[in-house]
């Protein structure tokens, strides 16, 4: 029997396009430092704006000095941050002291601004246990090397806040590559399932070492991965400090008021290599690409914006630069003064009470160390 019925079309492509079109990039400041979205401008005092600029400039200097100290052999593992100041610093600026940060390995600036002394960050870079002896009240964990692990742990911290009825959020960061990990999906899905107060920030700096963002997923955005967890997702211009601040602030408000987690994708760029351990970006990046993103520099547009408002000038900027250099010098000096690690120190940090095998080895190493 010939059928005249028109074949039903399951327009899956349309569905995908509809979903992807929901993730438009939030921007407040354009590259020239002009407000492009008045209704999205976050409420910030002049002092706050100035402080945010100070921190971003400071962090740029910290990056420059860290690269240089690394080259001199005075720092160890270092993952450059230049270009990501809006994404890293403006997001942390939207947090409160009680909020808990679970950083990735590139997210040292956030935990420093959250209260970790700079010399300890340097000790961490060198590989010294005193680097991550976290001071009381500094709510962070050490930078996470296993990409994705911080995401599932964040769900746990956030559930802890919820159980304690604490008005605080757990905030974590990963990169574009990290959004391909299983733990990434599990973490956002758990937090969603428990309605836990968490903010998941994906800093999409376009490359996971040499692998470009489009090799990670066919998805048009990373923000839309939030749909898989049934939680809100936002794509934001990660080179725009005001947009990042506004979006994180809103996610924080929603979280502490019982609205559950949010996934935020910050579209940004790292100017430097992946890490200082021999990565050469010229192998996988063009100079055109670099200069295109340099035009988007978060410092440039924020500087223009604040100068127009009359709350920033060269003098202030130089002051910050000098202060940063001074602090860094002192922090490195303090790191130099840290006692050398002994095997017995490492053993002491393993358990509350040493098990027999370690007790025995502790005696052997105490003897060695006394010679």
């Amino acid at each position: 029997m010939a059928s005249n019925a028109k074949k039903v079309q399951f327009d899956a492509v349309k569905t995908l396009e509809n979903i992807e079109s929901q993730f438009e990039m939030v921007q407040v400041l354009n590259e020239k430092g002009e407000i492009v979205n008045k209704s999205a401008v976050p409420e910030m005092t002049d002092e706050q704006l100035e402080e945010l600029m100070r921190r971003m400039v400071y962090t740029r200097i910290l990056d420059q000095r860290s690269i240089s100290l690394n080259r001199q052999g005075r720092l160890g593992f270092y993952a450059p941050t230049a270009g990501q100041e809006a994404s890293q610093i403006a997001s942390q600026f939207a947090l409160e002291k009680d909020d808990f940060i679970l950083p990735g390995y590139r997210d040292v600036p956030q935990i420093v601004w959250h209260g970790l002394p700079l010399y300890q960050a340097f000790l961490w870079s060198r590989g010294h246990f005193m680097g991550m002896q976290l001071p009381e009240g500094v709510n962070v964990i050490p930078p996470q090397i296993i990409i994705g692990a911080q995401i599932i742990q964040t769900a746990g911290v956030a559930l802890g806040f919820k159980k304690r009825n604490k008005k605080a959020v757990a905030v974590t960061y990963t990169g574009d590559g990290g959004s391909s990990q299983g733990d990434f999906y599990e973490g956002i899905n758990f937090a969603g399932s428990y309605g836990a107060p968490a903010i998941f920030i994906v800093q999409n700096n376009q490359f996971a070492i040499s692998t470009p963002r489009d090799k990670q997923t066919a998805g048009a955005t990373i923000a839309q991965k939030s749909v898989a967890a049934g939680i809100p997702g936002v794509l934001v211009d990660g080179m725009d400090p005001l947009a990042v601040y506004a979006v994180v602030k809103e996610a924080r408000e929603r979280a502490i008021n019982g609205g559950g987690p949010t996934l935020i994708e910050t579209m940004c760029y790292r100017y430097g290599p992946h890490t200082m351990a021999g990565d050469d970006p010229t192998r996988y990046r063009t100079t055109d690409e670099d200069s295109e993103w340099e035009k988007k520099d978060p410092l440039v547009r924020f500087r223009l914006y604040l100068e127009k408002k009359g709350i920033w000038n060269e003098e202030k900027e130089n002051e910050v630069i000098e202060q940063a250099k001074e602090d860094i010098k002192e922090a490195i000096k303090k790191a130099d003064e840290a006692p050398k690690q002994k095997v017995t120190d490492l053993m002491s940090n393993m358990f509350e009470t040493l098990p027999v095998n370690l007790q025995e080895q502790y005696e052997i190493y105490t003897e060695k160390e006394s010679k």
């Binding site: 808990f100 679970l102 246990f129 005193m130 680097g131 991550m132 002896q133 976290l134 964990i141 050490p142 296993i146 692990a149 995401i151 599932i152 742990q153 964040t154 769900a155 746990g156 911290v157 956030a158 559930l159 802890g160 806040f161 159980k163 304690r164 604490k166 757990a170 299983g182 733990d183 599990e186 973490g187 899905n189 758990f190 399932s193 490492l346 002491s348 940090n349 393993m350 358990f351 509350e352 098990p355 027999v356 095998n357 370690l358």
Partner: protein, 325 residues
């Protein structure tokens, strides 16, 4: 005192600690309303509520991360991994994260987590349910690994594990869950971690074992006694760290030893026990220390369990080799 199966003793320990410490949280796949796939958490959801005893999404890695995150807010998580064959999904959270938590923060954070998980053969489970993977855990610095073989030990060891301020992997042999009852005190008591128990005294040979093999070893010892051999059976109870003192004292007395495990020869912890005896008591040995283990294949298809799993006959055979060396 009450007659309890091992599973009842485990539930009793969990209830005891949920009552004692409001920071104790029990969670995992189907541990809430359902009371667990083996009824280990039966009644706990009802008594303590959703806030203390709750289900999770089906993702072992997420469960591990959840446990770690909760410790930062002062909780004492007791998560369950439904079957230990699924540990591969959560290896990073256990061996890569919680085991290192105190170390990597220079003793400023800790992870008071007890991971409960069933394992072990002899009950014809499907693939990846029965595998003995304790060897993987025992190789991770920062973990303690506990394997009880009796209801009495299970309760005391689980209470100790939960109270320990560092991570403990608590492995429950499925065949032992309901295989026999034992007198278990109703009140709370603890058994120190890292302490073995001499389950049977003897003077001619020491059998060092753990898990279901404790019972096969006792059976073998009883048979050997009929043939005139006096056999001591040591139940390790904690396989990491090992109770070196008890092992060595026994070997120095009997001068002969075998190590018995259900895991494959290349897995488990038997090789470690042999090495410790060689290091510390070689001059007491009248014969080499031999091992009874499963063959080095993948865990068998259910119907092949009876020919694959070590049993009391294998133990007797190896014991005789050592006795007659």
């Amino acid at each position: 005192m009450a007659q309890m199966t091992m599973i009842q003793a485990i539930t009793d320990a969990l209830r005891t600690e949920l009552r004692n410490d409001e920071n104790v949280l029990v969670f995992g796949e189907d541990v809430g309303v359902n009371g667990g796939v083996f009824r280990a958490t039966e009644g706990l959801h009802k008594e303590f509520g959703e806030d203390r005893v709750f289900d999770t999404p089906l993702a072992e890695s997420g469960i591990g991360g959840l446990a770690i995150g909760l410790t930062t807010q002062g909780f004492r998580p007791v998560p369950e991994i439904q079957f230990f064959g699924f540990v591969f999904e959560v290896m990073d959270s256990i061996s890569g994260q919680m085991a290192r938590w105190r170390f990597r923060t220079g003793n400023t954070f800790n992870a008071p987590i007890t991971i409960r998980s069933p394992f072990g053969g002899g009950v014809f489970t499907p693939e990846m349910h029965a595998d003995s993977l304790e060897g993987l855990m025992a190789q991770t610095p920062g973990l303690k690994v506990v394997i009880p073989s009796t209801p009495y030990d299970a309760k005391g060891l689980l209470i100790s594990s939960i109270r320990d301020n560092d991570p403990v992997v608590f492995l429950e042999h499925m065949k032992l869950y309901r295989s026999f009852r034992q007198e278990v005190p109703e009140e709370e008591y603890t058994i120190p971690l890292g302490k073995a128990d001499v389950k049977r005294e003897g003077t001619d040979l020491t059998i060092i074992t753990y898990g279901a093999m404790v019972h096969d070893s006792i059976k073998a010892a009883e048979e050997l006694e009929k043939e005139g051999h006096s056999v001591e059976v040591i139940d390790l109870r904690t396989i990491s760290p090992l109770d070196i003192e008890t092992i060595i004292a026994s070997v120095e007395k009997t001068n002969r030893a075998i190590v018995v495990q259900e895991a494959q020869k290349q897995a488990g912890i038997a090789a470690n026990v042999v090495a410790e005896i060689n290091d510390r008591a070689i001059l007491s040995l009248e014969a080499p220390v031999l091992r009874v283990t499963a063959p080095d294949t993948v865990y068998p298809f259910a119907q092949a369990e009876p020919v694959w799993l070590p049993n009391h006959k294998d133990i007797m055979e190896t014991a005789k080799k050592v006795l007659e060396f």
